[in-house]
């Protein structure tokens, strides 16, 4: 069994509104799985079903090969998008309470908390109330509480919102380290640059349907257009461009580099290899820049959502 979490044709309706329509995902063990989609697509509903906050109307969810049951609560750490803490409760008491709700013993929770508070250098907050902390500081506490009980599955819904870049990086590193230690991460966001950085698998949900999923690299390969960014130098730019345009489909390019005369996006068909293109270009002008255009997660996201 390589998948930690398998959701199979999960549907959920609220009244007449279908929030999820037969959505299936499989989250491999040890992966960072990006759950993407526009606002209101149904991501949060799916996450809530995984957390057993709501029950699916149809379909099943399995964790580690077993149907979801209440014991699994302690195997999951969930950082919801709508997050907060008891404002008038002290940091330490609150963290202990939340840890105990996840099934940890008080002494175990205490020593784990000490470890994390030392690691994030927030030990002196123990007796402060949440309302005395800044938003970013409270978020740190929230992060610690989420990962404290060493869950197999971590679910982060927009984890970086509310963090400054330094703390966002800190949290990102912690997430990566937790994955190293064996945790599987589901990561819901619409910030595509963090998807690019972190995720190895993604699923795209749009209007209650899953419209795309798989390994990020596979998907990128699937979405590549065989287009190459080309930067050339030649004394006779106009004729070179005309010759290229005759043989290939050419689009304007906007990449940055030092003083190239000719900047083009050249698209080749299936029968042509990149080497063919390169040798053709080399024969006409001096090649300074030759890069395959790889679609970014952002491109894929926008393109797929628009097409549906």
């Amino acid at each position: 069994m390589n998948d930690l979490l398998v959701a199979d044709s999960v549907s959920k309706s609220f009244g007449n509104f279908k929030a999820l329509n037969e959505v299936s995902i499989a989250v491999p063990k040890g992966s960072i799985f990006g759950l993407l989609g526009p606002n209101g697509a149904g991501k949060t509903t799916l996450i809530r079903i995984i957390n057993q906050i709501t029950m699916p109307d149809e379909g099943t969810v399995q964790l580690d090969g077993q149907p979801l049951k209440s014991e699994h609560i302690r195997d999951i750490g969930y950082l919801p998008e709508e997050r907060g803490l008891y404002k008038s409760m002290k940091v330490g008491e609150q963290a202990l309470y939340l840890a105990q709700l996840k099934g940890m013993s008080k002494s175990e929770a205490k020593s784990r908390l000490k470890y994390w508070f030392d690691k994030l250098e927030i030990g002196d907050w123990w007796n402060k109330k949440i309302q005395e902390l800044s938003k970013g500081q409270a978020q740190k506490i929230q992060f610690v509480v989420t990962v404290l009980h060493r869950p197999k599955l971590l679910i982060f819904d927009e984890p970086f919102s509310g963090f400054d870049p330094i703390n966002a990086n800190l949290i990102k590193d912690e997430i990566l380290q937790l994955r190293e230690e064996g945790a599987t991460v589901i990561f819901s966001t619409h910030r595509m640059e963090s998807v690019e950085e972190l995720c190895d698998h993604i699923a795209l949900i749009h209007k209650s349907n899953k419209i795309l999923d798989g390994k990020l690299n596979d998907i990128k390969r699937q979405f590549k257009t065989n287009t190459f960014e080309v930067g050339l130098q030649s004394n006779n730019s106009a004729s070179v461009i005309a010759e290229i345009k005759e043989k290939f489909e050419v689009l304007p390019a906007t990449f940055k580099n030092l003083n190239d005369d000719i900047k083009l996006n050249v698209k080749i068909d299936q029968t042509t290899s990149s080497n063919d293109l390169l040798s053709f270009l080399a024969s006409k002008a001096e090649v300074h820049h030759f890069v395959e255009v790889i679609p970014t997660a952002n491109d894929i996201f926008i393109q797929t959502v628009k097409n549906n």
């Binding site: 609220f14 009244g15 809530r48 957390n51 057993q52 906050i53 709501t54 209440s70 014991e71 609560i73 302690r74 999951i76 969930y78 919801p80 709508e82 997050r83 907060g84 803490l85 008891y86 404002k87 008038s88 409760m89 309470y97 939340l98 105990q100 709700l101 996840k102 099934g103 929230q142 509480v145």
Partner: protein, 437 residues
């Protein structure tokens, strides 16, 4: 996983450690006692005021009717005209002037008495004077007809009808008062408890919503566990507060009355003078005996057990509804539209209890309302001191428990959906839809 004890503990501790809760707990009895002490002190001042009442009796029939008391001095005038007497009273700052016109026969006296005063005299004063004159005139008339004073004394009768139920239980009028007091206190206590701590539960649910912690919590515990934990935790905090109020209030009462020498119990009986008059005949010892008898006659065991069950049942029923309201709205101002349907039956229950149960504890209205679950806790608690058959109590309790379970199911549904709904002020129609999610 059962997290109920953990949640109860947190809810209890946060409530109890809350500053305003602590302040209210200790300040309320102080304020109450201070208020009572001030009222008692003021009314004592009032009583202490010395009054001089001047009497100008031109008829001569009312000689020796009035004897000086601690507070009132009676001053008889002779050979004054009415104008002179009024001027005199004014100048000497007397309280008032009682004037009897010169009449020939005893029969005409009653129609020719007037009281002149600066301010309107108090009702007790006038009725006191009236009853004394009435008694005096009656005695005089009887004496004129040849009845001796001894015979008049002998004719005075005090009737106190002894009451006994068919199965031989004795009771008296005083018993009824005691029963009413017991039922009234129990019903009122429940009413106050529901309103104060129901609101507290509602606020704490809203707080969890506004602080956005709710989703973190319910990814660990079932909403119904959270709700029950909240209700029980808050109730325990409420019981703690109530207990402190009662103990502290009692101690303070004793201390204050010892220090200032004020009889606080008297302050609560403004018509004390009248009461005293009415009770004079019976004698203090008889009253005390009756009181003890009355309390002994109460179905104490039944009362205590019923109180515990109806109190818990009624409180839980209402507080689960309060929790549901808290879950359905985003902030306290939005609660108004849902509060009315909760408060209505509660207020109705108190009205039925106060007006109908006193009139006829076993009448149709009282009986019916003591079965309807939303009013039964208050009404039944008020009826029980008058003796309610056990099967009625049992049936009513069963209905209450059934409704309570339904209410918890209903509240849990609303709660489960509502706590994750933000930014919308729900309508009743939407609430109904939530039940089907």
């Amino acid at each position: 996983m059962n997290h109920l004890p953990l949640i109860i503990k947190r809810e209890y501790l946060t409530k109890v450690k809350n500053k305003s809760f602590i302040i209210m707990t200790f300040l309320s009895p102080l304020i109450m006692i201070a208020l009572i002490a001030v009222v008692a002190y003021l009314s004592q001042l009032n009583n202490d005021k010395k009054r001089t009442i001047t009497i100008l009796d031109e008829s001569g029939f009312l000689k020796d009717v009035f004897q000086n008391t601690d507070n009132t001095t009676y001053n008889n005038l002779d050979d004054f005209s009415l104008e002179e007497a009024i001027t005199l009273v004014k100048e000497t700052n007397g309280y008032g002037l009682l004037h009897v016109t010169k009449v020939d026969s005893l029969n005409e006296v009653s129609k020719n008495i007037k009281f002149y005063s600066e301010e309107t005299p108090s009702l007790t004063l006038i009725s006191g004077i009236e009853s004394r004159i009435e008694r005096h005139l009656r005695d005089k008339k009887l004496q004129k007809d040849g009845v001796s004073l001894a015979q008049i004394e002998a004719a005075k009768t005090n009737v106190d009808i002894a009451q006994e139920s068919f199965d031989g239980q004795k009771s008296s009028k005083l018993d009824n008062v005691i029963k009413l007091a017991f039922g009234g206190i129990a019903g009122y206590l429940l009413f106050m408890f529901i309103i104060i701590y129901g609101n507290m539960i509602m606020r704490s649910v809203i707080e969890e919503k506004t602080s956005r912690i709710i989703e973190v919590i319910i990814s660990s515990v079932k909403p119904i566990q959270l709700m029950m934990g909240k209700i029980i935790g808050t109730s325990l905090a409420g019981v703690t507060q109530f207990a402190i109020w009662v103990i502290l209030g009692g101690v303070l009462m004793v201390v204050v009355s010892a220090i200032f020498g004020i009889d606080l119990a008297q302050a609560s009986a403004p018509q004390q003078e009248l009461m005293n008059q009415a009770m004079q005949a019976e004698g203090a010892q008889a009253i005390a005996e009756n009181l003890i008898n009355g309390i002994n006659n109460l179905p104490i065991l039944n009362l205590v057990i019923a109180f515990v069950f109806f109190f818990i049942g009624g409180y839980l029923l209402y507080s689960s509804l309060y929790a549901a309201i808290g879950a359905a709205v985003d902030n306290e101002t939005d609660t108004q539209q849902f509060m009315l349907p909760i408060l209505m039956p509660l207020i109705l229950a108190v009205y039925v209890g106060v007006f109908t149960v006193i009139e006829d504890p076993h009448g149709t209205v009282s009986t019916v309302f003591s079965f309807i679950p939303f009013t039964s806790p208050v009404v039944m608690l008020m009826r029980i001191p008058f003796g309610v058959p056990l099967w009625q109590q049992g049936l009513s309790l069963l209905l209450l428990i059934g409704t309570f379970m339904f209410a918890v199911w209903f509240a849990a549904k609303i709660y489960r959906v509502g706590i994750l709904m933000y930014g919308k002020k729900p309508t009743y129609k939407e609430l109904f839809k939530w039940l089907k999610y």
